[in-house]
């Protein structure tokens, strides 16, 4: 503690130096790496030690996803993941598992997304054995208790009932659904699909996707390399299966497009639109990331934010997103604006995209975006668990080995010509899907070049 050692010498009248003229000391930064270990049974493990706190974190990615839901049984993948955690194991009943985990103040989360399942578990290092034992049981021998399945199904039905309650969440859900019109990715659970799901379906789904070569692990924290490897080997040694990891699903073919309205009597509209774009493995991924940053994900100085929010005061939230996957990507924009300015906000956003295609991005904007992305890159390495799970994700997505080490160099190389080229190639209003949730009767006159929007109602 040092108190009162400061002598005040400065006064409020003193001028501040211009912020762009500040000189900074150098930054000592090297990329920390997790070690990749291949276990006997085919599991891949990324490991990084850090002893600051008595905690161990374990995460895992499994090659599966809700896009593998059988037709007519939508919701199966998600229920399987939920039931692995809550439906007991062949050794311990669900109530027992819940008691143990709650007492350990640790609970593995197992969540299903479109094209993967992810597991996250963080616990005290002194609980390593008991936690790994429980996790292994949950991953290898789930029991899918019938009674718990009925509860899970009822809770899922309730979730569907409530799907339209929050207009922003609802709009994004419908956007994600309509983006894939003839693809398993666009099929969502409904009350009738839930009725078709039985315990045997869960057992089958688990058997099909949960096996050693289909899972990648990351372990970090206060645990030695020997412990990490030996303990995982010990608890997962009986998990043997000769199958190879399943392949990444081919990208969706036909993207959804057109204008869809959902009527809800509220004073603010949610406007979401977007289209397919390039993947993380595409050489233009870096150019598109910079493009997205400048258009609307780079915060206040980005184009959508400053136009829709700053200049016009039309929205509190507005911007863009770029979700790049290993073999395709989705780019989109959004704004939440009062009913009367619904079309105005959408028009503003679409004209920003048109201008970008025409080459409106300045050298200053490009410099700002590149500096921002390069300088904040170190935050990808702030925590050991983040470093290990990041490498796990790179392996999962089959990105090149030098993805991280080459990232800055590739961002650095992006030019204005690249931005214009990728914008021209991927941004096209004709291919765009637009969803508006709001008080449709009050939107005013439809813009002239529009086709008649399609009204849809919440799927429950």
């Amino acid at each position: 503690m040092f108190c009162g050692m400061i002598v005040s010498g400065a006064s409020a009248a003193q001028k501040f130096i211009a912020p762009d003229k500040l000189k900074y000391p150098g930054l000592d930064f090297r990329i920390q790496e997790a070690e990749r270990v291949l276990l006997d049974n085919g599991m891949v493990l990324f490991y990084l030690q850090n002893n600051e706190l008595p905690l161990v974190s374990l995460s895992a990615l499994v090659r599966t996803g809700s896009l593998h839901d059988p037709q007519g049984k939508e919701g199966l993948a998600e229920l399987t993941a939920y039931m692995m955690r809550t439906g007991g194991t062949t050794q311990l009943g669900s109530a027992d598992i819940d008691q143990r985990l709650d007492f350990l103040a640790a609970s593995p989360s197992i969540s299903m997304s479109l094209d993967s399942a992810s597991v996250y578990f963080s616990f005290l290092k002194s609980d390593l054995d008991v936690c790994l034992d429980l996790l292994a049981q949950i991953l290898i021998h789930p029991a899918f208790e019938e009674e718990k399945l009925q509860t899970a199904l009822s809770l899922k039905k309730e979730e569907l009932r409530r799907v339209a309650d929050n207009p922003q969440k609802f709009a994004f859900r419908e956007f994600n659904r309509l983006l894939y019109p003839s693809d398993p990715r666009g099929r969502y659970a409904t009350p009738s699909s839930l009725k078709q799901i039985s315990r045997d379906d869960l057992i089958g789904f688990h058997r099909e996707y949960f096996f050693p070569a289909n899972i990648i692990l990351a372990v970090s924290g206060d645990i030695s390399r020997e412990d990490a490897i030996n303990k995982i080997r010990q608890y997962f040694r009986h998990w043997k299966d000769s199958r190879q990891a399943i392949n990444i699903e081919p990208p969706p073919k036909e993207p959804g497009h057109g204008i869809f309205f959902i009527r809800k009597q509220i004073p603010q509209s949610t406007v979401v639109s977007g289209e397919f774009t390039l993947s993380k493995n595409d050489p233009d991924f870096y150019a598109f990331s910079v493009l997205d940053f400048i258009i609307g994900s780079g915060g206040f100085p980005s184009k959508i934010f400053s136009a829709v929010r700053n200049n016009e005061g039309l929205a509190y939230s507005a911007g863009s997103f770029y979700r790049a996957r290993s073999n395709y990507g989705v780019f989109g924009t959004y704004a939440f604006t009062k009913t009367a300015s619904t079309f105005q906000a959408l028009h503003l956003i679409n004209s920003i995209l048109d201008d970008v295609v025409a080459g409106s991005i300045s050298q200053a904007e490009l410099d700002w975006a590149k500096k921002s992305m390069l300088n904040s890159f170190i935050f990808s390495f702030e925590q050991p668990s983040q470093i290990a799970s990041q490498q796990m994700t790179i392996a999962y997505e089959k990105l090149p080995d030098d993805y991280l080490s080459g990232y800055r160099k590739r961002i650095e190389a992006v030019t204005r010509e690249d931005l214009k080229r990728v914008a021209g190639k991927y941004l096209n209003e004709k291919r765009r899907l637009t969803i508006i949730v709001g008080d449709t009767d009050q939107f005013g006159k439809l813009p002239e070049k529009w086709e008649q929007p399609v009204f849809i109602s919440p799927q429950q």
């Binding site: 007492f103 009822s154 309730e158 935050f379």
Partner: protein, 508 residues
């Protein structure tokens, strides 16, 4: 396979082991450096070396409770205006710009005054003033470089740059590469001393959109607002942070300046810096920039206490959404002993699948979709609430779920919680504590919060030792005293009966 009973015995064995191992006793106090500048500003510093980054928090003991009646939302509007630059950031020629800003304010205020006349207003005058305002605003753009503070931070690698306004406290924070601390000091000291409130009228529109987004279209926000205004009839905790629509619509720049003057008291302000720092160099830098703020003449706002509640209060909200509810009970705030007791009770009732309310209402009775319990709503400076948020599962109703919750709360008054429940809750609170030590921003947030509101960050480092002392009897006593019918406020959201929301042409 273990039976449930034997399993419980095993747990009792484990409890002893747990008590004997002070895993949580990571000695934070030895690591935190606390210093006070001559002007009274308190600085907390904590060195963490894993990554060359730093998290920087500034908190002012100024929040929505400090607003003048009729100016609700002013603290939050000020927070937005603090991103509009300074006399040296965001301007091309401040002297010329200043004249224009004065004109904009005069015209904008005149326009507000006229609009406030409602149907007696002179529409022609409104039209003229509005177009004059627009013209001046366009002219102003020629002198102004928007979003300079944002550009400076992002360009230098800043992440999670933001601010938040609460009932008690306003916070400005950013994470930066560790070599860029001076940029933060330069920007923050400048915007504290020399802020310029640009784009005021457009920003006010933005905040009205924020209100629409978080309250008018959001069932949870709407229910929360109604609940708080019912629970607090006198104390300003009942007033929404974002402000009432009528106050917000006509918010004046005078109100914002009034709030800003409250910031200028270094003794009312805490800085926390956590990350890869050299504490003595960091302190020197902070003093170089923040030391120039003169000592304030801080006088705390006189805030009326909420009189003890004497009868149950109820309010119903009708909304286009499925049912939900909030139930709240008045109670003392931290660091009162009761507050620790309610932290333990919150955990026993709602954390984990075996917690009382989750296991009973969601898993056994199957009448709830979800349930959460929150001790200390809405904030910490004044006596607050122990609140239960719940949603019935169709076809069960709010009434049914409410009755079941009350039955569970009554049991707390007559039967002590079990040793197992108590031990489990304490383990969970310890785990939360240990996990919160794993992030620069979380540490900076927690340390500065308690230093500011309770006068000592050690509330946090001593937290677990206080939690350890909580007994089953304490919980029972607190339940009897505070979870009483007359001390209760209930807000219910029910689905508004309206015409079929899905009618329209081209139904698909």
């Amino acid at each position: 396979m273990l039976t449930r009973n034997r399993f419980c015995l095993l747990l009792v064995g484990l409890i002893i082991v747990y008590w004997a191992t002070p895993l949580w006793a990571i000695d934070l106090e030895k690591k935190v450096a606390k210093a006070r500048l001559d002007n009274g500003l308190t600085v907390l510093m904590l060195e963490r070396k894993f990554s060359p980054t730093v998290s920087l928090y500034i908190r002012y003991r100024v929040g929505a409770v400090d607003e003048i009646k009729g100016q609700s939302g002013a603290a939050h509007v000020l927070e937005h205006m603090m991103f509009k630059g300074t006399t040296t950031i965001g301007t091309k020629n401040y002297a010329a710009e200043k004249k224009l800003l004065t004109q904009i304010e005069q015209v904008g205020q005149a326009l507000d005054n006229e609009r406030m006349q409602q149907n007696k207003a002179d529409q022609k005058r409104i039209k003229n003033l509005a177009s004059l305002l627009k013209k001046l605003q366009n002219e102003h753009r020629g002198y102004y470089i928007p979003n300079e503070i944002d550009r400076l931070y992002t360009e230098n690698g800043g992440l999670e740059m933001n601010a938040s306004t609460g009932q008690d406290v306003t916070t400005y924070y950013v994470n930066l590469p560790a070599n860029k601390i001076e940029l933060w000091a330069r920007i923050e000291a400048d915007r504290l001393i020399n802020p310029v409130f640009r784009e005021f009228y457009t920003e006010r529109d933005v905040i009205l959109e924020e209100r629409r987004q978080s309250i008018e279209t959001n069932p949870d926000g709407k229910l929360y607002e109604s609940f708080m205004s019912e629970a607090y009839k006198v104390h300003p905790y009942g007033v929404p942070i974002i402000g009432y629509p009528q106050d917000l619509t006509y918010m004046s720049q005078t109100a914002i300046r009034h709030m800003h003057r409250k910031y200028l008291s270094p003794e009312n302000m805490i800085i926390a810096v956590v990350g890869d720092i050299n504490p003595s160099k960091t302190l020197k830098l902070i003093n170089q920039y923040f030391g120039r703020i003169p000592k304030g003449n801080f006088r705390p706002t006189a805030i009326p206490a909420e009189p003890p509640q004497t009868e149950e209060r109820k309010v119903e909200v009708l909304f286009d959404a499925n049912p939900s509810m909030i139930i709240g009970y008045h109670k003392p705030t931290a660091p009162a002993v009761e507050d620790y007791v309610f932290d333990v009770l919150e955990t026993i009732l709602s954390k984990g699948r075996t917690s009382r309310l989750y296991s009973k209402l969601v898993l056994q009775m199957q009448i709830a979709d979800g349930i959460s319990v929150h001790n200390g709503m809405p904030a910490t400076r004044y006596a607050n609430l122990f609140a239960i948020l719940a949603r019935p599962r169709h076809p069960h109703t709010n009434d049914e779920l409410q009755a079941a919750i009350f039955r569970e709360l009554e049991i707390l008054k007559t039967h002590p919680v079990t040793d197992l429940e108590l031990a489990k809750a304490k383990n969970q609170l310890k785990m939360d504590y240990v996990k919160s030590l794993d992030s620069n921003s979380e540490l900076a947030s927690i340390l500065s919060y308690y230093e500011l509101l309770l006068g000592d960050y050690r509330y946090f480092s001593n937290y677990i030792s206080h939690i350890d002392k909580v007994t089953a009897m304490d919980i029972q006593t607190a339940a009897v005293k505070y979870l009483a019918v007359e001390n209760r406020t209930i807000a219910i959201l029910n689905k508004k009966a309206n015409e079929d929301a899905s009618t329209g042409k081209n139904e698909k």
